[in-house]
Symmetry: C2
Subunit: 495 residues, 2 copies
């Protein structure tokens, strides 16, 4: 393995977004040391557990200040620092300080979204947020939405609405009587769709086998020709088609328009999982990728991915608010009829939750503070970082680029001349684990699907969501990847 | 209607917990004005929406400080103040400042519970929290748990585990193949169980009709004799029996031991919904109410009810950690086999979420800061307040006590001589709405179930969760209830 090439020529950015320092929050005081604690996972978790002591509630407390010091100390010493420029593993961004401040307001108020009298102002704030986001997506005035505890739950709620709607069309009242008699309900999605689709099918009583996965093309987009064939097969009830706008690993966007046409043809619900990709709408440059989102019946978006919000700020948008009727419920202690007649109502009928934290508070604050332009610049910066990283990978014979950049992820692997497929896979896993236990570099991994005779392969992944990271930071990060690869190949510094 | 009687003799407390001022958080600057904004719900929400303006993300932002001022101003002006001593409607407490501070740490770190490399320290912190709570409940070392976004979701997860376990016993792999062929699965619970049981049955594909509700006795506890009859009926598969430890309205605790014996006899999962009641375990005086909780297979508890935590801090405990296998999942980008072999793993297999906010951070901090004794004193204070309120209701001929005090709720109604049942119901609703729109008093309402020939009746409800409220505060609150009742009955001050 040769020494890494230095990257000398980066594509010139239109402006210099790297000059802006975004105010990001962190609980780690010494950012120099790296995004993760040093040491094996077992050792780190053991040390944390030792500080916490025996898992028993103490008889008497140590007081507020000592308790905060203890827990803050643990986060500082053994926690993650997502604001470190070498944190690039997951769809888990560093967060804006303003969102943290606003989230503390939400905590302090302890308002809940289920009734008017559990928190008046936050009802209006959430309605403003979901309408503003629906408008950004291009939906009309009939659209509505709800904040949920995460993209997995948003997807589950969408498939639940689709399930009950398809069953009703077949004369079955699932809500009251269950799935009995519902003839082979199925859901279609790309093989690269998020695993929460299968999880939701299992939870909803359809079974994982109800999720029919469609192969993806060479650009990692759902193959519409295969979807058409699958939809045409008899003996199944197509409940929903799920298009992914921003696959977790590749950022690829399924062709929404032809998928929507097929879904309509077969009377299936079209759900767009834009948990990752929705944030592209903040960027004028990337927004065209999501131009067809308004064709969807429902959309998942996660502002704790692109959006720089603390978890959880997932949103389920629906094109037609009447579809939330699936969650309607009359409860004596929350929304009796005479109260509703008097205008006392809440948002109980939007989800499966009763108490619901007002996560919209931080979103409203952030959208107001930064505007679309501010967030768009952050998106563009991360997108440019991804291109810079990809260029650096391509220029380095020790690295191999495995997928084109669409949003902010880069798929690649360490080259290992003479290694077979198994050896190459093992090399990537070992390189990543060594980097993680070093504490200095936090990157992701995944599996590249088999393509044209090439078997599935382990890939390394950069998920670039830190707009304060610079091309030099990514250069340094990749230097360490290459150096670690060299160590593994030459048998040095084994764990 | 006569003028209200003053309450002169309160039961003497063992000590004077009212002397302690607990540091509670609030987003409302002028607590004197009341727990809610003044005005009709429509007017309040309209004013909030007007300040927010058209629901569009602005092109350019106003900056962090101006945005925070705007949203904080809305919470101050049109939000809820749960720290006000006249806030007594829902199982939604004022929150401890230390929990708010710790929750801000959780937001700032943006750690997630799904993998080691999405947040090392928080994995150990959550494990400490769930083990400490399991230990408080009396569970052995095999117990485990997970934090969830709310009691409704905790209940859903428990019923999901029970469903899949009962189906597996009948040779059906629900997770893979769905519910097809599973012969009439049913769940048993009290008529007073939380409505999330029916909601979960609908979501899980069993249908609401799968929830067989058992009548409650005169103490609002599930009737074990009727449960035994129902379980003995043929043609159904008993999936789970749900005992409620602390019903939402009455605080009543179902007889767990005989229910457990029946569940065991019929091979059904025993879930205890202690969302409200679990906090009684902090109090030495009230803990005996929950002595039989260790007989359960799973338990829901909500520290955002009794526990003074910001939402959401629900926990699902399971007696046997292997039962979480229902949520196991192998994901290329999160927990590939070679990583797990190297100790890199997380808590993905504990719930239906992927990204999961580290809500355990605030819980660990609070338990350490206050200890069992600190929280126990808060519980006892609220319990004493409930007894004081009940005594005041009994002593006042204008009020009628409708249920005994078990935990911290008081069910009562305004007397209305000469009114029929419909008139009495309408009176309660009108009194409460006038109080809510006045902004000065926030109380709850519910429906008292029919009993021995008496029809179901609308009840007013105090849910006393503010340990800084005093008997005098509650006296004032009830004075206003009585005065408002008088206004309604005499046709004065109509809305």
């Amino acid at each position: 393995m040769s020494q890494p090439a230095r990257l000398t020529a980066l594509p010139a950015p239109v402006r210099d977004p790297f000059a802006v320092r975004w105010p990001l929050a962190s609980t780690v005081s010494d950012r120099e040391r790296g995004p993760l604690p040093h040491g094996s996972p077992g050792a780190v978790l053991r040390r944390t557990a030792e500080v916490l002591g025996e898992p028993r509630i103490p008889s008497t407390g140590v007081g507020e200040s000592a308790a905060l010091d203890l827990i803050a100390g643990l986060l500082d010493e053994h926690g993650i620092d997502l604001s470190h420029p070498h944190a690039a593993a997951h769809l888990q961004p560093p967060v804006l300080q303003v969102a943290v401040d606003a989230d503390a307001l939400a905590s302090a108020s302890n308002a809940s979204m289920d009734t008017y009298d559990s928190g008046p102002a936050t009802l209006a704030i959430e309605q403003w947020v979901v309408r503003a986001l629906a408008s950004l997506a291009g939906f009309g005035p009939q659209a509505d939405g709800v904040l949920t505890p995460g993209g997995s739950i948003s997807n589950l709620l969408a498939i639940l609405i689709a399930r009950d709607s398809a069953a009703a069309a077949a004369g079955i009242d699932v809500r009251r009587h269950g799935l009995q008699g519902f003839d082979r309900p199925v859901v279609f999605c790309s093989e690269l769709a998020h695993f929460s689709v299968q999880r939701a099918c299992a939870a909803l009583g359809l079974g994982e086998q109800a999720a029919i996965t469609i192969p993806s093309d060479f650009d990692f987009r759902l193959r519409v020709d295969v979807l058409a064939e699958e939809l045409a097969k008899p003996g199944r009830t197509p409940v929903a088609v799920i298009a992914t706008a921003g696959t977790t690993d590749f950022g690829s966007v399924d062709p929404i328009a032809p998928i929507a046409a097929l879904a309509r043809q077969y009377g299936a619900w079209l759900h767009v999982d834009a948990a990752y990709g929705f944030g592209a709408l903040f960027s004028e440059r990337l927004a065209p990728l999501l131009a067809d989102v308004p064709l969807a019946d429902s959309v998942t978006l996660d502002l704790h991915k692109i959006g720089w919000q603390p978890a959880a700020t997932s949103v389920l948008l629906v094109a037609d608010r009447s579809r939330f009727a699936a969650f309607d419920r009359s409860v004596d202690y929350l929304n009796p009829a005479d109260d509703i007649d008097s205008g006392l109502d809440g948002l109980l009928g939007r989800s499966l939750q009763t108490t619901r934290r007002p996560d919209a508070v931080k979103v409203a604050t952030t959208l107001t503070a930064y505007g679309r332009a501010g967030l768009g610049t952050m998106v563009d910066t991360c997108h440019e970082l991804a291109h810079a990283a990809a260029a650096r990978v391509v220029a380095d014979s020790n690295l191999e680029l495995l997928a084109p950049v669409t949003l902010t992820t880069v798929l690649f692997r360490v080259a290992g001349q003479g290694l077979d497929a198994t050896g190459l896979d093992a090399l990537q896993g070992e390189v990543r684990r060594r980097l993680l236990t070093s504490g200095r570099v936090l990157i992701g991994r995944t599996k590249l699907p088999a393509r044209g005779g090439r078997p599935a392969a382990v890939a390394l992944k950069l998920t670039l969501l830190n707009p304060n990271a610079t091309a030099t930071d990514i250069e340094d990060l990749l230097d360490q990847v290459v150096a670690t690869g060299l160590d593994v190949l030459t048998g040095e510094g084994a764990a």
